[in-house]
């Protein structure tokens, strides 16, 4: 068994809205191993983003605990964690290359090294020719590439991704899936990827954590047995993919039916 990097035990979160307490997450437990790619899927409002935010210290848990590399998460995110938001968080006043350079600047890396590493990242993301462009001139997909490279350039060992491709069209999404898998294949970060898109989860992940409706808890954890490296287009035509998709889809469907009754 590989080393456990993230341990989540009986985690719960209740939001207070006026006089009412709204339980968002309750009794969630699962682990993430080193170099593992875990996706969390579930109906909207099931608290999957809240779990991610708690791992990243953006939201304080109401109960239970999260250990990252053996340390309880505190008020500030652990330094080995990188985070990619669904929302566009590229700094609009910085050019593409200066956005990608941010993490290196913060760490006081020397200018020549920043230049070299940013150039490499720009090449990997296929953003050549746009180094000096401001984000306002880029498409949503390109902006998300910048955000991804900006997170990856500081070599985070753990990468938290909150529906990073949620706002993109299908083609752009597939492109970015392929790129993410290639980048991940090279570095093997530990990834926790939140999405509501089941096909995305199966295409990318080693394991899929399926959540129940709110208050969200873990319904079941599926092992995705698709071989790697995966071709993001062809993988969807395989028997195994269809079988797993059908199975998880059925499980998720129970959650939607539950709501109707």
């Amino acid at each position: 068994m590989a080393r456990l990097r993230i341990i989540i035990r009986d985690l719960s979160k209740t939001f207070t809205q006026g006089p009412r307490d709204i339980p968002a997450v309750s009794g969630v437990s699962f682990d993430v191993c080193d170099k593992e790619f875990v996706a969390i899927v579930g109906p909207s409002g099931c608290g999957k983003s809240t779990i991610l935010n708690m791992i990243g210290s953006l939201v304080a848990p109401s109960g239970g605990e999260i250990l990252v590399d053996g340390e309880r998460v505190g008020a500030r995110p652990a330094p080995q964690i990188g985070y990619v938001f669904q929302k566009d968080t590229v700094f609009p006043w910085r050019t593409v290359e200066r956005n990608i350079a941010l993490g290196l600047e913060y760490r006081g890396v020397s200018a020549p090294e920043i230049r070299a590493r940013v150039a490499e990242a720009v090449r990997l993301a296929g953003l050549e020719g746009f180094e000096e462009a401001f984000p306002a001139t880029l498409s949503g997909g390109m902006r998300q590439r910048v955000a991804l490279m900006r997170s990856l350039i500081v070599n985070p060992e753990i990468l938290l991704m909150d529906e990073p491709f949620g706002a993109l069209d299908t083609h752009t999404k597939l492109d970015l899936h392929a790129e993410l898998l290639a980048l991940w294949g090279a570095r093997r970060q530990t990834v926790v990827f939140v999405t509501h898109d089941l096909s995305e989860a199966i295409t990318l992940a080693d394991r899929v954590v399926v959540m129940t409706r709110r208050p969200g808890t873990v319904k079941i954890v599926y092992d995705v047995k698709l071989p790697r490296p995966r071709d993001v287009i062809r993988v969807r035509e395989s028997e195994e993919y269809l079988r797993e998709y059908g199975e998880i889809w059925h499980t998720l469907g129970e959650e939607f039916e539950g709501r109707a009754s």
Binding site: G56, L58, R76, P77, P79, I81, G82, Y83, F85, K87, T89, F91, P92, W93, R94, T95, L102, G103, E105, Y106, R107, F134, P135, A136, T137, A147, R150, S151, V154
Partner: protein, 273 residues
């Protein structure tokens, strides 16, 4: 942005309107109501002068050896305006940034700021003159007292509305609190500050001219020239001062716009298409 092809027709219209206006003015103030009776006009040039007379006075006031040289007056006005503007922006920006990022300080200072800002600034002119005398300083202080609040409120808003996720992303990338301030909060707030520059420069000019109305000859300025012309019922001098003031206003606004376009070139509305 409108491209060069239509630029010439826009300019032709502008010049045409200006020429028609000046010609009409010149013509109408030349028609006598009752022929041959002196001093009775349909539109009396005594009150609004005539373009030809204004041009004549301008040449005289611009020439050497005049007591109220138009250049000296204009320079004094521009100087006071720019000083008040510069000091107002700097202090307003810093105050807005500090109060915008500290809920406690914002709560403590809020009533004072609202009270002082709702005071009509013109009511302060005599007090400021009493404290700072009749010179340049009083005019600068007056301009500052207006610019400060415009910039302050904008920067305050800007500093408060910084996208929390941008701050979080910076922290995930390893930014210290100081680096978050420098690379996230200051640039976001600056975008709001820049938006306040154009109104600020106009209001700085208003503050200075009002200061000059009450200030003496030692303060000088175009406002002083206007009040002097009122004393001597000299409409031509007054019009010269107004035209020069208008020209100064245009040049300053264009300058600010240039600076704004340069500093905010990352914004979608300033992107070259």
């Amino acid at each position: 942005m409108i491209r060069a092809r239509s630029d010439w027709s826009v300019w032709a219209w502008r010049i045409g309107i200006l020429v028609a206006f000046l010609a009409g003015w010149e013509y109408l103030t030349g028609i006598k109501a009752i022929s041959k009776t002196p001093g009775l006009y349909w539109i009396d040039p005594f009150f609004i002068s005539r373009p030809s007379a204004i041009a004549q006075r301008f040449v005289q006031l611009a020439g050497p050896g005049v007591r109220l040289s138009i250049w000296r007056m204009a320079l004094s006005t521009v100087q006071s305006t720019l000083w008040g503007f510069a000091v107002g922006i700097t202090t307003g920006f810093l105050a807005g940034l500090v109060l915008g990022r500290s809920d406690r300080a914002a709560r403590i200072f809020d009533p004072f700021i609202v009270a002082f800002n709702s005071l009509p600034r013109i009511a302060l002119v005599p007090l400021i003159t009493m404290i700072f005398g009749f010179g340049l300083l009083a005019k600068v202080v007056l301009a500052w007292s207006i610019v400060f609040f415009i910039v302050f409120f904008n920067t305050f808003q800007g500093a408060r509305s910084v996208d929390a996720d941008l701050i979080h992303s910076a922290r995930f990338l390893g930014a210290s609190e100081h680096q978050v301030m420098r690379t996230v909060i200051v640039p976001s707030a600056l975008a709001w500050t820049f938006a306040s520059l154009t109104p600020s420069i106009s209001f700085a000019l208003i503050g200075v001219v009002v200061g000059e109305f009450i200030g003496g000859e030692s303060g000088g300025g175009l406002g002083y020239l206007i009040i002097q012309s009122l004393g001597t019922l000299n409409a031509a001098d007054m019009m010269v001062a107004l035209f020069v003031l208008g020209a100064i206003g245009i040049v300053m606004a264009l300058g600010i716009r240039q600076i704004e376009m340069r500093l905010l070139r990352w914004r979608p509305e300033y992107q070259k298409r």
